[in-house]
Amino acid sequence: MRRYVDLNVEMELFLKNPVSRVAHEIKRSGFHGVALSSDPNTNSGSLKSIRESMREHGLDVAFRVNFEPRSRQELLKFLRRNRMRFEVIGVKPLTNELATVSARDHRVDLIYYDLSKRNTVFRESVAHVCVGALEIQVRPLVALSARGGIHEIFARLMREVRIAVEHDIPIVVTSSARELSEIKAARDMAALAECLGLSGGGSLDAVSRNPMEIISRNRLKLSERYIMEGVQLLGDV
């Protein structure tokens, strides 16, 4: 049985609504786990208490941080500081040069783009060096579609998905929900990926296998048992 994971749920959602209500809505949408996006300076105690409450409702929670670097140095500094603190790191590059730097860094799990910026897109040159995954966020897409001109954004996303598939880059679809109404059904999000050009199985992987792999890989790296790539301690530590 597939286990669905929404790899981007904003902290704002938990500040506006009680945890039990959020957990109920996420479970109703078919998810088994979420990644909670927060500011890097957020109190770790409050994050842990949300995780515990969500676990009581049968939902797994990973911690995620998003970053919009303005320069290469700023990105590298951020990664040095936060890689060992968060299970998932997402980067939104503002220029194509920063996209290349972010894509080739092993510490970056997800790369996502500002859909309103036409010049910064997921290009072949970025796909060649990309070691992470390409993220498609539903909330900005829905917001832009309400304004009209969705065909241009769909065309752009279809082109990006095709490039990612050609280069075997995993695609992750996330809700990036800030309100309860922005939490979407897992299979509906997979349907969006299918409309953008992924195969039936590939679109389901975008909300299940791909995000699960990112979380489990990073949890292993953050555990005490991990020594280096391919080497980990077995038995009692």
Partner: protein, 88 residues
């Protein structure tokens, strides 16, 4: 919200996303509705387009709306059995 408003909202979103040609390809029909639930029929193999429309549907007649696919099935019988369960 009555089923006509819901159904026309779906038609509008589908047309916005996929155009008249896409709408024709889906062969959308409303079968039944009750309270906030609506059963929609579409052509087999095109259900992802209807699901995508449900995802993108945010407002109808100026009111905020959230649509979610609860179940996809090939027969009305199994859908009605699903809807009669207490969990819905």
């Amino acid at each position: 919200m009555d089923w006509k408003t819901l159904y026309s909202g779906f038609i509008k979103t589908l047309t916005n996303l996929f155009g008249e040609f896409g709408l024709a390809r889906v062969e959308l029909r409303s079968i039944a509705s009750k309270d906030n639930l609506i059963i929609i029929r579409c052509r087999r193999g095109e259900e992802h387009m209807v699901r995508c429309a449900a995802l993108m549907l945010t407002s109808m007649d100026g009111q905020p709306v959230k649509a979610r696919t609860l179940r996809v099935s090939g027969t009305l019988k199994s859908l009605k059995r699903f809807l009669s369960r207490d969990s819905i």
